[in-house]
């Protein structure tokens, strides 16, 4: 595990400056919003005022629970699906790849809406409530948002792992392992999957950023008391603080991840040299 405090400080500085610029720019361009009744540390939803503190922490924990549960679900589902796919015949694999390309281009909004509508439809038709579709009073819902948020990452990760798998299976070390008499299943599990996981790590940023954006749509459509919903309804200083609360923990994650993928890259470069 590599972690350089110095380079993290640099990243931190640039993140803070960036968020600062973003939070003052609208006021700079279009003047200060003159909804006078709104105080600095307040946000309004449907015309009702709430205090940002300490709400923001609860909301943050709730959002992140959904975020990481969905990420884990997606990753697991993708790996299991890839493994099953490799056992299928070649032409079916190609069909699956095509379907994935199709599914991948579905907008997040579409998936969220379709899932919500179909849960309601099932409820109306059969009386079975598969999962709660929006927050009832102060009882936060988990199942449906997590599953919804997990759909797109699953598709993306599934596609990436399939591609990586194809690439990896033709590498010389697989032939070497086979020449040592190791079985196909053993090689797939012990060698190929291990390497795919390492390569998958390089896509962390794309996936995370993509999922954060999805998280917002999920929170908005399901009307969840999440931190993204808060970010939408705050301005100025409150926006700045909320954005920082979201950004700071993630920036630590990004820094760690970047340092470690960099070392993987170096390893690869050394190999190539």
């Amino acid at each position: 595990m590599n972690f350089s405090f110095h380079s993290y400080l640099k990243r931190l500085r640039s993140t803070v400056i960036g968020i600062l610029i973003i939070s003052v720019l609208p006021a700079l361009f279009f003047g200060i919003n003159t909804k006078l009744e709104q105080k600095v540390w307040q946000y309004s939803i449907n015309g009702i005022m709430y205090d940002v503190f300490p709400d923001v922490f609860d909301r943050y924990m709730y959002s992140m629970t959904i975020f990481f549960s969905a990420l884990l679900t997606g990753l697991l589902a993708a790996l299991v699906l890839t493994f099953i796919t490799t056992l299928l015949p070649k032409f079916l694999q190609r069909v699956i790849y095509g379907v994935l390309t199709l599914l991948e281009s579905l907008p997040d909004l579409f998936i969220v809406v379709v899932l919500q509508v179909s849960v309601i439809y099932i409820y109306k038709a059969t009386g079975i409530l598969v999962a709660n579709v929006s927050n009832v009073y102060n009882n936060p819902i988990y199942l449906l948002p997590i599953l919804t948020l997990a759909v797109l990452p699953t598709i993306q990760l599934f596609k990436i792992t399939l591609l990586l798998m194809k690439e990896e299976q033709h590498k010389p070390y697989v032939t070497v392992a086979r020449a040592m008499g190791l079985g196909r299943l053993y090689i797939t599990l012990k060698h190929v999957f291990r390497n795919i996981l390492t390569s998958l790590f390089q896509y962390y940023k794309t996936i995370f950023v993509f999922m954060l954006s999805n998280l917002f749509i999920v929170e908005y459509v399901f009307n969840l008391n999440g931190v993204m919903f808060l970010l939408l309804n705050t301005q100025g200083a409150a926006f700045l603080v909320t954005a920082l609360i979201i950004a700071l923990p993630f920036s630590v994650l990004f820094e760690i991840a970047e340092n470690n993928t960099a070392s993987v890259d170096e390893r690869k470069e050394e190999d190539a040299a």
Binding site: R11, S14, T15, I17, G18, I19, I21, I22, L25, P26, A27, F29, F30, G31, N33, T34, K35, T101, L102, E104, S105, L106, P107, D108, L109, F110, V113, V114, Q116, V117, I120, K205, F208, V209, L212, S213, L215, F216, I217, Y220, V221, M228, L231, L232, Q235, F239, A243, I246, A247, F250, S251, F254
Partner: protein, 311 residues
């Protein structure tokens, strides 16, 4: 390059679809032989032969095929078809200017790594684009209400916001891209043989970048479409909206009608009624999905083309 692209079936299918949709959207009144005004009028109530009211808007697809009507009783099918041109053209314009501005700015100073922009790019990683756009758009809308801005000025300012949001990340992409091209062996070779800087940029860097530009352009169109849909849900409409009162005097129901007829507007104005009339949302959303899929096919075609170029 264009000839090569035409040989990619995915690219051709995607492009044909978009082209057909656009043509249909421009000429649907004559193609379907219907009156445009008549088809887009409000249809609050359905009457039977004797003039009795048998139903009120919104009508589901089963009553008024193929897609039903929205809350105000406008036929969704005609709305969606008519809105296609606005939606696609807005997205294309936004994407085009994003690319134009970012390439221009990058080429002004290709050696710089735009560190001040990097800060913003870093920050936007954590803030979803939709929220970012909402922040600016909302401020603009409040201002436009106060200053009573003209329709065209509002549209231009809104477009500038949507363009501006996409520029910083693109600049950092381009400056990275140009730097890798400049570091290629053959460029170093060209310099070693004594070429002028401008010659190298125009003869080597730009041609190599051009396919990539096309790819990024198509991807930006997709991104703009998604952003438009998100903004629609947040009831931010391109071209603003006017408020219509539905319901009776005792229970007035304010109803925002977007002025431009693009898809995001159709989604946004009835999003709160998702559970009561899901088809009003699902119809334009599906069109978004299909259009994005067609664009993705084009992207795939371009990528295939880029790969065959290499080998």
């Amino acid at each position: 390059m264009i000839i090569k692209l035409m040989k990619q079936p995915q690219f051709v299918i995607g492009m044909l679809f978009i082209a057909c949709l656009l043509i249909f959207s421009f000429y649907w009144p004559s193609l379907l032989d219907v009156n445009k005004k008549e088809s887009l009028k409000l249809l609050d109530f359905l009457y039977d032969k004797d003039g009795k009211v048998i139903g009120a808007a919104p009508f589901p697809p089963s009553e008024i095929p193929p897609f039903g009507t929205d809350l105000a009783g406008k036929q969704l099918f005609y709305q969606v078809i008519d809105g296609a041109k606005y939606t696609i053209i807005i997205a294309i314009v936004i994407a085009f200017f994003r690319i134009l501005f970012s390439v221009g700015i990058t080429l002004l100073n290709p050696k710089s790594n735009f560190s001040y922009l990097n800060d913003i790019v870093q920050a936007t990683l954590y803030i979803p684009t939709a929220i970012l756009a909402y922040l600016f758009m909302n401020a603009l809308l409040v201002k436009s209400e106060l200053d009573s801005m003209s329709f065209s000025k509002l549209i231009v300012l809104q477009a500038l916001i949507l363009i501006g949001i996409g520029v910083p990340p693109l600049i950092s992409t381009f400056s990275r891209e140009i730097k890798t091209i400049l570091n290629r062996d053959y460029i170093i070779n060209t310099f070693a043989l004594g070429s002028k800087k401008s010659y190298v940029y125009f003869k080597h860097v730009l041609p190599e970048l051009s396919t990539k530009l096309f790819l990024l352009f198509a991807q930006q169109v997709i991104q703009s479409l998604i952003l438009l849909a998100h903004l629609g849900v947040l009831t931010i409409f391109i071209g603003g909206s006017r408020t219509l009162m539905l319901g009776d005097f005792l229970d007035p129901m304010p109803y925002n009608i977007p002025l431009a007829g693009e898809w995001a507007g159709i989604i946004g104005m009835s999003f709160s009624k998702l559970q009561a009339a899901p088809w009003v949302i699902l119809t334009p959303l599906s069109f978004f999905a299909i259009t994005i899929f067609a664009l993705n096919l084009m992207v795939q075609g371009i990528q295939n083309c880029l790969e065959t170029n290499k080998t």
